[in-house]
């Protein structure tokens, strides 16, 4: 007799989701699905708006990573204008993008995930959160707050606003930075480098404690995709796409983002509003890929900054081919924070970083624009079509988290098969399913809880819908 376990109404999220775990007649886990139950509708309601509004409009897609949308959207608008933006503007866009990656990664690692890592997956839910961390690991909380603050202040100092800044614009950025701003950020680099270095130190030493999770948290073969430079280095702002197999070999290299429709398909599943992108040449069944920190470190030959390169070399030794376990998204996030800090320092020390020439101006010269960048959670695509007056006729957005939809579903299934004992649902089981989702750091779960705590209810129903068992976390 088949049964279904529902994790209903994952509450306190930007966007809504639930998880269903379907049991077969023998009571074993047969399937699991992550249902995104909310429609955002951006692709529809931007139609009819002038293209230059798109950065500000699409920034409202997210309160954690609006800068990512500003970057990708502005790049699409750059193409509509047919401009090459000034090199200083490129550098400034890179800096603010990295500032956001730092603060977003710090949020996930320190606020959302570290309670599980340091207080235990089976810890008392009332204490397995930031307050429990305040008691047991106050220095780690301070470190997380400082890193997040640094990233937010980079954004605020450049763009004059922490959330939804309007500084990144079609053609470049709205204003240059001055020496005071540059020097303020540079003066904080040693402190935050110290923080991330010691975080990596304790995290790597504790990896042995997580071997079971490394084995079972979305640990499977998949493709990995991310932007790289011409030399194959880690890239978050521009570059071309590289696809790597689970064995670590390059399947496709230097794919032009403008041609994404030739290699990325978007499928729709009936159980979720989140689209399921896949690598087209291998079809829907074989084309599942992952994006984000884990994928970016799998596709990159090197980072291009000294300390991050050392860490990357160590990271690549985790597996013989690509690093497969999604638990290692946590490790990858820390390396990206380190890279982001080092790279910001490099960029701020470039001789023309204070140049006044930060924006190119033009009218509509192309009726189509595609902007691609790396958001904290993965590759982000903005594709617009306009008429001759620059009015949006259509828009296609492939959101970073959406790229991971297939892998996240498979990961939840893997965890459910390993941890779920339907005869008795436990809170620890529920938390492990959450933790798999949290490792991907999707925009769904990252908004669910700032304290590592997701309110959930699991119901086990028989085929007639009769309630057999229930487990609720407030």
């Amino acid at each position: 007799m088949s049964q279904k376990i529902m994790i209903e109404q994952v509450t306190r999220i930007e966007g809504h989701a639930k998880v269903s775990i379907i049991l077969n007649d023998d009571g074993a886990v047969q399937d699991a699905q992550v249902h995104v139950t909310q429609v955002r509708g951006f692709e529809k309601f931007v139609q009819g708006r002038p293209f230059y509004e798109m950065p500000s409009l699409t920034a409202r897609t997210c309160g954690i990573c609006p800068v990512s949308h500003l970057v990708a959207s502005s790049k699409a608008c750059d193409q509509i204008l047919a401009v090459r933006i000034p090199t200083t503007a490129i550098a400034l866009r890179r800096i603010i993008n990295l500032g956001q990656i730092i603060q977003s990664h710090a949020l996930n690692f320190f606020y959302l995930s570290s309670p599980d890592l340091l207080l235990g997956m089976d810890g008392d839910p009332a204490k397995r959160n930031m307050f429990g961390m305040l008691d047991k690991h106050p220095q780690i909380v301070r470190d997380g707050i400082r890193l997040r603050q640094f990233g937010q202040q980079v954004i605020e100092r450049l763009a004059n606003k922490r959330i939804h800044p309007s500084w990144i614009v079609p053609g470049g950025v709205a204003s240059p930075i001055d020496a005071t701003t540059r020097d303020q950020i540079l003066s904080e680099i040693p402190e935050v480098l110290g923080i991330i270095t010691r975080t990596l130190d304790w995290y790597k030493k504790s990896l042995n404690n997580y071997q079971e999770y490394i084995r079972t948290f979305a640990n499977f073969a998949s493709l990995f995709m991310g932007l790289v430079t011409k030399e194959g280095r880690l890239e978050h702002y521009h570059g071309n796409l590289r696809v790597v197999t689970a064995r670590g070999s390059v399947l496709a290299d230097q794919l032009a983002p403008d041609e994404y429709e030739s290699f990325i398909g978007e499928a729709v599943e009936p159980y979720t509003y989140l689209k399921s992108p896949y690598y087209k040449p291998l079809g829907y069944d074989g084309g599942m890929y992952r994006v984000g920190p884990l994928a970016r470190l799998n596709v990159a030959n090197e980072c291009g900054t000294p300390q991050a390169d050392q860490e990357l070399a160590e990271f690549h030794c985790l597996d013989k081919g690509a690093v497969l376990s999604s638990f290692h998204y946590h490790y990858a996030r820390l390396i990206e924070i380190l890279y982001g800090i080092e790279r910001i320092q490099q960029l701020l020390n470039e001789p023309d970083i204070l140049s006044d020439n930060v924006r190119a101006h033009a009218e509509v010269n192309n009726l189509e624009g595609i902007g691609v960048s790396e958001a904290p959670r993965g590759t982000l695509f903005h594709h617009y079509k306009v008429n001759e007056d620059g009015i949006i006729q259509s828009a296609n957005l492939i959101i970073a988290s959406g790229n991971n939809n297939l892998a996240m579903n498979k990961g939840v299934l893997q965890a459910a098969r390993y941890y779920v004992r339907p005869e008795k649902l436990t809170e620890g089981m529920l938390n492990r399913v959450e933790a798999v989702i949290r490792a991907f750091d999707p925009c769904l779960a990252c908004s669910t809880h700032a304290d590592g705590h997701m309110a959930m209810q699991i119901e086990m129903l028989d085929p007639d819908g009769k309630l057999i068992d229930t487990l609720t976390r407030e």
Partner: protein, 156 residues
Amino acid sequence: MKILILGYGNTLRKDDGLGVYVTLTLAALTLPGGVEICTYQQLSPELSPVLAQMDHVIFIDAALASNGEKPGAIKTRALQPRTSQPGSITHHFDPETLLAMAETLYGHAPQSTLFSVTAASFDLEEGLSPEVTAALPVLIERIKEYLFRLPETVST
């Protein structure tokens, strides 16, 4: 004395934007020396080290109606550091929790006061309701009086 006026809220949710509008108004006025003003969309843990450096913090926010209060009612209360229920620290990080974090992590929680106005609406709209708008001049005067009554501010 270091004083921070912290207005917070979402200006796209009608009266929830009260804190933002009030701080913008205060920023244009002549206030005692040592007063800083800042605006946030929501309270978050990154504010705790900022608070820990202050002697006094004035929080400004819209409030849900309770005890039969009418929209536009102005309330003032002193705040104490207090850890809220873990489930509430998401989009509703409250001032008391922030103060508790400042005290636990950085060794100091400033004296703090919350000025609030009972909201008429939290609908998805910009602008304040007529009731809250009518309360603004009185609220701003009360905040100014409060500031000038604080020790050490009169002499600056």
